[in-house]
């Protein structure tokens, strides 16, 4: 293979090479340092005179004396069934002291788009055991639902709890976790790895680690390696794969850095104008395909700079993903775990996965009513701050109390508390709604109220003469 010694310029992660043979877009490149160390990169631009290479590692140590070899192929990920249980670097090299991956296939990491005609509609309910997700922002198989968090908030705990508890009730199909860390700290890495080991999750997992002190540019490939692996496990080996990407904010920063090095005209707040398209090429790699058994579900984490949901990173993500789970600093300060604020949270595929035959017929209506009640209560808090509690009508006072109750009982739960959807989450919802006047429950039709409202359930139980208390009764006794 020909080695060029025609580097004309090095700027940030970019290396400019003059007068080469024809080189293809996105081709893989080895840059050979004077001492023989090899760094990897990829072709960003190519013409007869000049090739621009983006180096995945730090360009420290590179100079005009370095050699450049074009490998004639785009980046490929070696994949195989024995990848489960392995820990790899952000560029896919073994990091656990184990052997190289024996490839059964080498797949292009760019990932072609799933033909929308080949997709199947995601509609299988995943129970995470967390009420604010299962009850009001339900996740389904094949969905991409990120966590929008802020620095210092317990998003990792939530992600881990989800990874631990997620199940499709009644299903015994094989599942796997693909975990890709981008720019996380050593401490965070330990948190994840210890939990994976403690719970035995590692056996079902493939881990990619790009840590804070690893090269930023490598972060561009890490999620793509992870998703290529996930697609392989899902669509060729029939696994139901949960992909956790963290932290997408670090990924976007790397993107910005490369854009700046290429002297591109920056878009909003300095991020590249193509960031939407680029993020879509990651987030859209989730779903299910007709005729295939497996699925790829994406649960990414991003930290909102300055807790600002209108910042380009959460904003563009929210425009692509199928909803978002928003972690709130205010709830965290109140000591509530998991501090999920349901108001700005949303699961767009929820309606497909809930209701009769999937969760329960009243699910949607209960969820809507809980939202409406909580939203109203939260608004009233603002009013109370101005006019005082005494100026509130009786009705408003009830809503105000409802909001507190909702946070304290519905939102708050233990790190290892795994709530079942019907018996725990939905019945708890009814129990809370029962504190509001019945005619205020305008989102729920009479029929369902008569069937599920604790008042009528008690009545029904009393009339039928049985002593069987409802699940919610049991819980309120035990509390």
């Amino acid at each position: 293979m020909k080695e060029y010694r025609t580097i004309s310029q090095i700027a940030g992660p970019l290396v400019f090479v003059e007068k080469t043979e024809p080189v293809g877009y996105s081709e893989l490149v080895n840059i050979v340092q004077a001492d023989g160390t090899i760094k990897r990169g990829q072709v960003l631009d190519t013409s007869d005179e000049l090739v621009v290479v983006q180096c995945f590692e730090t360009t420290a140590g590179l100079g005009r004396d370095s050699g450049v070899r074009f490998l004639g192929e785009t980046i490929k990920m070696p994949v195989g069934s024995q990848m489960l249980g392995r820990i790899l670097s952000g560029s896919g090299k073994p990091k656990d002291g184990g052997p190289e991956i024996v490839p059964e296939k080498r797949l292009d990491i760019g990932g072609a788009a799933i033909n929308p005609y080949a997709r199947d509609t995601p509609r299988q309910f995943i129970q995470t055991g967390i009420s604010t997700i299962d009850g009001t922002n339900t996740l389904v198989r094949g969905q991409k639902l990120p966590i929008f968090s802020g620095s210092g908030l317990p998003h990792n705990e939530i992600a881990l709890q989800i990874a631990r508890q997620s199940k499709v009730p009644g299903s015994t199909e094989e599942f796997a976790v693909v975990f890709a860390a981008m720019g996380i700290t050593k401490e965070e890495e330990n948190q994840f790895m210890q939990d994976f080991e403690r719970t035995g999750a590692l056996e079902h997992a493939v881990v990619f680690l790009n840590l804070a002190d690893d090269p930023a540019v490598e972060r561009i490939v890490t999620p793509r390696l992870a998703l290529t692996t996930a697609e392989y496990l899902a669509f060729e080996l029939d696994y139901h794969v949960l992909v956790i990407l963290t932290d997408m904010t670090n990924y976007c920063e790397a993107l910005r850095q490369i854009g700046a090095a290429r002297e591109e005209v920056p878009g909003r707040r300095g991020y590249p104008g193509y960031m939407y398209t680029d993020l879509a090429s990651i987030y859209e790699r989730a779903g299910i395909i007709k005729g295939k058994k497996g699925s790829v579900t994406q649960f990414s984490i991003l930290t909102m700079p300055g807790d600002d949901i209108t910042h380009p990173i959460p904003d563009l993500s929210g425009y692509i993903t199928e909803g978002q789970i928003v972690v709130s600093r205010e709830l965290h300060r109140k000591g509530i775990y998991p501090p999920i604020n349901v108001l700005p949270s949303l699961s767009r595929l929820m309606n497909l996965g809930i209701g009769e035959g999937m969760t329960r017929e009243d699910h949607k209506k209960v969820s809507d009513q809980l939202y409406a009640g909580y939203a109203e209560g939260v608004d009233l808090r603002g009013l109370v701050a101005i006019v005082g509690k005494d100026a509130l009508s009786e009705r408003d006072r009830l809503f105000l109390e409802f909001a507190d109750l909702f946070e304290d009982r519905f939102v708050r739960q233990g790190h290892n508390e795994d709530r079942a959807i019907k018996e725990d989450t939905l019945d708890l919802g009814w129990e809370l709604l029962a504190t509001l006047p019945e005619e205020q429950l305008v989102r729920i039709d009479r029929e369902l109220i008569h069937k599920y409202h604790p008042k009528y359930r008690k009545k029904a139980a009393a009339e039928s003469g049985t002593s069987s208390a409802t699940a919610s009764d049991l819980r309120s006794e035990s509390m």
Partner: protein
């Protein structure tokens, strides 16, 4: 983006790039250099590979077979692509927009000796439950028919020969960036009935009109667009998923064949054409998708149909322009968008309209564009430039969405400039009282907004009695009339008659409440009227009249009892 040298090309010519013959379009010519935007991923393409010019600009195939199809942005049928290359969209595969093998039953409506001009309908094909009218392509001169056939033909076979020897088939090709000609644009004065109460009731759009629906992520653009695609009383629907999610298109694909058109009882899919160029499909094809869609819409309009076109989202289209423009290193305008953004947007919306077709029929294309402003901030260029053009503005509001008030369309900021021209239609077709009740409802909502400001300062108890009733009536308008659940099988579509009945019932309560108040009743009594609590239930009943009658009777009884007391 690829640069070719010494290619004899014109702007917007379609070219084939490299050994794989990837499709692309000429977007800039500079000396010997021709800059080509390739519709597919260019990884691995090397300098020195050949480029071939087709000499044609990007065109779509128009003819029987369009309905029920799903295409990418450059009219490649996605169903065929799955057959050709599997579940993922690989590059370098082409497929024609229409099947060239399938035979269609052609029934002429003209005979030998008739003279036909551009746009004249010469025959019909029963494509789905929709009759596909075959026209003389608008760019032909026409003439006298020498021979016209009856029977089964592919789209390539000649069905009609003119005296001058011109052979006509059932297919025509039309360049997507060129509007199809019409005789004349008319004033849009018939509403597009959408079955969505806040739209039909407060901010209607006319057939042939234009509307924008901007909103932050998760506020309801797609749900609203899909509701319109399902329930609006257009005869043909073109739905463009432009740079959005794959799953959303799949949802349309699985849901539409199972839904019935409330007017014809036929599967909704049979009147629908889908364009899906999702966010992870190539940006250049995304840019083209909007043109592909509107050209197909115009083609059906030319058959005398009312077509509605939804584009979700025009912001992604604008961003595709921005990405292409920035690669060309063009001088950026506002927020990096090219300086021609406003021009492109208005050219696009200009292709909407209620028209007299070349065949002298009436047809229309209604265009409804979703806009996705960064950070939900409407002051950004795409929203602002769109609002300068469109006549209807449905402003989605994140606050309403968070509160699960759906559709989250803000009733104070939204507007329709068609209200005047549609006035008479409502008088004649809904109820002579409709326009008045609508204005009343808007006034109550306006008033409520003012009162809410006071409530925020001093609490609701401090309001005068009369205005506390206004607040209650406004709440009913919001919760009963405006809120509409797109996922409820009954509530998802609400006929004009039902809309009128619902609003009328609320107005009746309001009138009786104010009469009772004048007679000395207490606000707390008026607000406590139980009958009105049943009103939300009306939404979910298909056969709602008995319930409504019951509510009226109960309301009557309660108010009368109050009077006596």
């Amino acid at each position: 983006m690829v640069t070719a040298v010494d290619l004899d090309a014109h702007m917007y010519d379609v070219v084939k790039v490299g050994h794989e013959q990837l499709m692309g379009e000429v977007i800039k010519i500079q000396g010997e250099n021709t800059i080509i935007q390739v519709y597919e991923d260019t990884s691995g393409i090397r300098p020195g590979e050949p480029v071939e010019n087709t000499g044609l600009s990007l065109a779509v195939e128009l003819g029987p077979g369009l309905l029920t199809s799903i295409y990418d942005g450059i009219q490649r049928p996605l169903e065929v692509l799955v057959e050709k290359m599997g579940d993922f969209i690989e590059r370098g595969v082409t497929a024609p927009g229409l099947s060239h093998e399938k035979k269609w039953e052609f029934v002429p409506v003209k005979k030998a000796g008739d003279s036909v001009g551009p746009g004249t309908i010469i025959g019909e094909v029963q494509e789905t439950n929709i009759v596909h009218r075959i026209t003389v392509p608008p760019n032909l001169e026409g003439g006298v028919i020498r021979e016209i056939k009856t029977g089964s033909f592919t789209v390539d076979e000649t069905v009609c020969v003119l005296e001058d020897g011109t052979e006509l088939t059932m297919m025509q090709k039309w360049p997507v960036r060129v509007p199809r000609p019409v005789i004349e644009k008319k004033n849009p004065d018939i509403p597009l009935i959408t079955g969505q109460r806040i739209l039909d009731g407060l901010f209607p759009i006319a057939k042939g009109g234009t509307a924008a629906i901007p909103g932050p992520f998760g506020s309801g653009k797609t749900v609203t667009q899909q509701a319109l695609a399902k329930w609006s009383d257009a005869e043909i629907v073109v739905y463009i998923g432009c740079g959005e999610r794959g799953n959303e298109m799949t949802e349309v694909l699985t849901e539409f064949p199972e839904l019935e058109d409330p007017r014809t009882g036929k599967p909704l899919m049979e009147r629908t054409v889908l364009i899906a160029n999702t966010s992870n499909m190539p940006v250049a094809a995304r840019e083209a998708s909007v043109y592909t869609g509107i050209t197909i819409a115009e083609y059906f309009r030319d058959m005398g149909y009312d077509v509605s076109l939804m584009a979700d989202s025009t912001s992604r289209w604008a961003e595709a322009m921005r990405e292409i423009s920035s690669r060309l290193e063009e001088m950026p305008g506002e927020e990096g968008y090219p300086a021609y953004l406003a021009a492109r947007l208005s050219e696009f919306y200009e292709r909407a309209g209620r028209v007299e077709t070349l065949n002298e029929d009436m047809g229309s294309v209604t265009v409804i564009g979703a806009v996705s402003p960064p950070g939900g901030d409407f002051s950004e260029p795409v929203t602002q430039n769109t609002l300068r053009i469109v006549k209807v503005f449905w402003a989605l509001d994140a606050k309403l969405a968070q509160r699960r008030h759906f559709p989250a369309i803000n009733w104070l900021n939204s507007y329709s400039l068609y209200l005047d021209s549609l006035h008479d239609w409502y008088d004649e077709n809904v109820n002579p009282e409709w326009n008045r009740i609508r204005i009343w409802a808007m006034e109550v909502l306006q008033k409520e907004a003012e009162l809410q400001e006071i409530v925020q300062l001093v609490g609701s108890d401090a309001l005068p009695e009369e205005e506390q009733v206004t607040i209650e009536v406004a709440r009913l308008i919001r919760e009963v009339f405006l809120q509409q659940n797109a996922f409820d099988p009954v509530d998802t579509y609400c006929s004009m008659a039902k809309q009128y009945d619902m609003l009328k019932a609320i107005k009746t309560y309001a009138d009786r409440a104010s009469a009772a108040q004048k007679a000395g009743a207490l606000t707390s009594q008026i607000v406590a009227i139980k009958a009105k609590n049943e009103l939300p239930q009306v939404k979910f009943e298909k056969d709602y009249k008995p319930l409504l009658d019951k509510i009226y009777a109960q309301m009557d009884a309660e108010f009368n009892a109050m009077k006596e007391a």
